[in-house]
Symmetry: C2
Subunit: 578 residues, 2 copies
């Protein structure tokens, strides 16, 4: 492939962590000179970072092609009108960068491309004979993040692989989804990344169903839960839970009874005052949901999950009501709402089903109601799973296992969108009977730059990066410890040339630096295979080979080194293929 | 490499030219389904267009790497401040897209990257030991064109390869410039493009010297001149001309004499009225130049070239003066200015040097002056070559040849920038003696998307595109004329597999279409090698091979076809290497 010399490339390593970097991978990307910050959330890829990025892109491209997806390239600039046509102009809000051209036409910098690609599909895919088709691109996206951070993890400008499938039926769409899902597993594995697939919320994207590909990491911005017994795993935004039978509280058949609870405002204060456990209390929250006012009931020790609530109520717009609305709807002040006697619709968390002997607000200042039996005392419109799942909750799939909370970095996301966009843009095809039908759509994203950084987040040690063979900027670094000695130079160049001819990219550290500096830099930069050429080992006809993942530094006859290294390289690449 | 089937890809050919396309390459890119318009100046690359684009990118990347340039990737979003620091914020004007983020910070969408890269060099290149370095990227650029047109030729969003060299001395900078210049010649040649290198103006980029790489085409937006005898060629913006000795006019020794020229306003009218040739008249134009008012003299039959004028006067800002300024500076109305008696600086085109017996305005309404001898009658501050070169002008280099006007499409541009940016951003290095000096900089651009379209502008016929082998989306198309016949299918697949194994990308036209449709589409799409599999030829154990550039359709034994095609392919690729 190619031979690079340290003295002719641009590698700037730093001894100290950059001040604004909070997580290991961000620190290491800057210290190893892979990226440099231009401004908040905006980074330049330096030569080594760019090489690693191109390798991730190549793997993703190969797996998309193998899955039969067709590469295209859409513009970053998009007319405002198409975002209005899909109804997402307002939903995207300030996350979408907006600008005007010199004719005062409004444009957006694409944070994603459902609108553009569906318009394209509407124009180009007309017949069932042209389906299925999956189109993809590897392209720069823009998002005006509230708080850009963690380097490439949450940047204003980043590279995404986004793919879009168009199908003639729901079954065919499932098949397209499955192909992408499997391509993603292969692509991440080839990048040396271990991912956890979780069920996910569809959010602003809309649609039916989705999975996220998560890299487990303490620094992850996403909460996820996984079952300790079965394969269930889900984003916290979506995670369900099982509801074991409730043990009835003592004296749970008594009639409701109002009691004064002076100076007790929080759940904790009320529970302490009444000497009952917090889970015996029922929280009553008043929400505005698509213009309606509704009451939401949740166990006192649980938080309402608005993602789940919105999905349960099929709500587009959902927010806590203001004081005035609460007073009007309940007749009481904020903090003392309760379900009894309400005329607005009341929705309750499933965990409350069958609960008797509970405590609720009385819609009256400093007052609560004891001995509440929701079935008996309140009019519940519907029961839904609307609270966050928590550690030790029962698994909703196997019921036997317990849920465990983890943190994850989302590197991929696949969505079954259905007809949300194809209806909006009249992306229709003629079926075998000449009937016009909307195509069924899926969309699929990989954060390419985020994937690159996630590899480092998952694969590093105290000395630096530990690159997987497949995306290392250089799989092999040859450290010439005495670049002033002709025989060391010659041995270095011969080995480099042999590796080059065998198809490996090689970096020669030809700097006039102490061995300790070269070793430290090689560890920081994370080359999978480090070869040391020194006068001492050359005297015995040998060179030293060290793998970044191993401690041993075996010597090997220099004439066999190229063959041995090539074998290590190929075995390592093969081991990453699913 | 890969085998694609027409029935599984997305190729939309059109029979008719798109209405908004004016030039052949734009029409063909749309008709062959290589691009689709999203909005004015914004295009999506369809699968075949994307494949060709990637091939151009790969060639450019290889030639950059070979020249020792290091690939990086800089953000498209750039903070406003760095454009103010270079002094180009105002110069770029409305061509640069501007936007605000949610914190109301102003950003620009990079139309080019001198500012970002020089900041980077200032931070990373500190010592003479790190020089020379050339950094490049292949990246999306944005320009708010007044009139986007001609498809990818003048788009709002386009892909550029931009490179920047940093050197320790002017001589070293010349060497970096030479390397890029040669890499450009190789890259364009490998894309199958014939380019003409011309001397060019430096414009808003600033700097010392530059060359443009032009594709000659009637549709080109740039005027260029080339000498018919020597190698001189230049952009009209810069083109010089030689000045032959003037023949004196008769009665050229007479004293100046004012004459009334009623109703004669234009040069043509004055010349007709005075019965003298237009070139005997001297135009006097009043300009504002960086806050000064000056007079510019030009032959009556020539147009002033403001690019050359600005360079001659070392002007940053230059515009024709308004009526008031003209009246104040000359004492006369617009249209009757003349050099005699002016107190403002007067600059004259070199062609006027030694002219006697000329006619000028008299700074008085409806009045001209005869028998003018500029040396005798006017105070000329300096003589410069400030008019456009024209057909039949003498060559400024060899003086023997005549200049010829041509049209060209600029696909590449190399600039010797000097220290304009390195001074502005303190991009300094320590030399061997520990002295701090500004690096000498060069910048180098290839319009990647424009190059792709230029290939088609230069290489097409009445039937469609004629792709060079190196960037054809598929070098080989196999047309199976009877996809219903198993033996045709088998022969097609066998040949495709053999070609695939030999490293060629193959497209199989497996559509159930008439042969005429398949032939027409293959010609339109421009595959360099077309193989026809039909029942008739298969009966004789043969297939038919036709090159897009040839008329003949020789038959060849099908078992030898793969070998033969591979040979044609390799010879063709080799022929493009300089």
């Amino acid at each position: 492939m190619s031979i690079a010399r340290w003295s002719e490339t641009l590698i700037s390593t730093l001894r100290d962590d950059p001040q604004d970097a909070e997580i290991p991978s961000h620190k290491l990307m800057v210290r190893a000179g892979l990226i440099r910050k231009l401004s908040g959330g905006l980074y330049t890829f330096m030569p080594l970072g760019c090489k690693a990025l191109r390798r991730v892109e190549a793997i993703v491209r190969q797996e998309m092609d193998r899955a039969g997806a067709l590469e295209i390239l859409m513009p970053a600039l998009q007319p405002r009108e198409i975002w209005e046509q899909s109804g997402r102009y307002d939903i995207m809000g300030d996350v979408m960068f907006k600008l005007q051209d010199r004719q005062k036409r409004e444009l957006a910098l694409g944070p994603t491309h459902e609108e553009v690609v569906t318009l394209l599909a509407a124009a180009e895919l007309k017949s069932y004979r042209q389906l299925p088709r999956t189109l993809y691109q590897i392209q720069t996206k823009f998002r005006d993040e509230i708080r850009p951070r963690f380097g490439l993890m949450r940047a204003k400008e980043f590279i995404m692989k986004d793919a879009y499938s168009f199908d003639r039926s729901w079954d065919a769409a499932d098949e397209s989804y499955r192909k992408m899902y499997e391509a993603y597993l292969r692509a991440f594995a080839r990048c040396g990344l271990r991912v956890k697939v979780v069920e996910a919320d569809t959010g602003a994207m809309g649609g039916q169903w989705s999975h996220e590909f998560m890299v487990l990491a303490d620094s992850g911005e996403d909460g996820i839960v996984e079952c300790d017994a079965c394969a269930y795993a889900a984003n916290l935004e979506r995670a369900e839970r099982a509801f074991p039978e409730l043990e009835p509280y003592p004296d749970s058949d008594k009639a409701p009874e109002q009691v004064s609870t002076p100076n007790a405002k929080t759940i904790g204060q009320v529970a302490a005052f009444l000497k009952c456990p917090p889970e015996r209390l029922i929280k009553t929250l008043i929400y505005n949901v698509d213009g309606r006012t509704v009451a939401i009931l949740a166990p006192g020790d649980r938080d309402v999950n608005e993602h789940k609530l919105a999905r349960a109520l099929e709500a587009r717009d959902l927010a806590l009501a203001d004081d005035e609305t609460i007073a009007a709807a309940t007749g009481g002040p904020v903090g003392f709402s309760g379900p009894i006697g309400l005329t607005i619709p009341v929705y309750a968390d499933t965990a409350l089903k069958g609960l008797r002997g509970a405590v609720t607000g009385a819609n009256r200042v400093d007052t609560h109601v004891l001995n509440v039996d929701l079935d008996r005392d309140a009019a519940i419109e519907a029961w839904h799973d609307i609270c966050f799942a928590e550690n030790d909750d029962r698994c909703p799939r196997c019921a036997a296992g317990k849920l465990r909370e983890k943190r994850g970095i989302e590197v991929g996301h696949v969505f079954k969108l259905g007809t949300k966009y194809t209806e909006a843009f009249s992306a229709r095809f003629l079926d075998e009977d000449g009937q016009s039908e909307a195509m069924i759509m899926g969309c699929y994203g990989i954060g390419v730059t985020r994937t690159l950084q996630s590899v480092i987040e998952q694969s590093h040690d105290e000395k630096g990066i530990v690159w997987p063979m497949s995306i290392a900027p250089y799989p092999v670094a040859i450290l010439n410890l005495t670049p002033g000695k002709p025989d060391c130079v010659e041995a270095t160049q011969t080995l480099a040339r042999e590796l080059d001819e065998a198809g490996l990219d090689v970096l020669i550290d030809d700097r006039d630096e102490r061995p300790g500096v070269k070793f430290a830099d090689a560890d920081l930069l994370g080359f999978p295979i480090r070869v040391v050429v020194s006068e001492r080992s050359l005297a015995g006809g040998n060179v030293e080979i060290k793998l970044r993942t191993e401690k041993a530094t075996p010597v090997i006859e220099k004439d066999n080194a190229a063959l041995k290294i090539r074998q290590i390289y190929q075995d390592s690449i093969k081991a990453l293929i699913l």
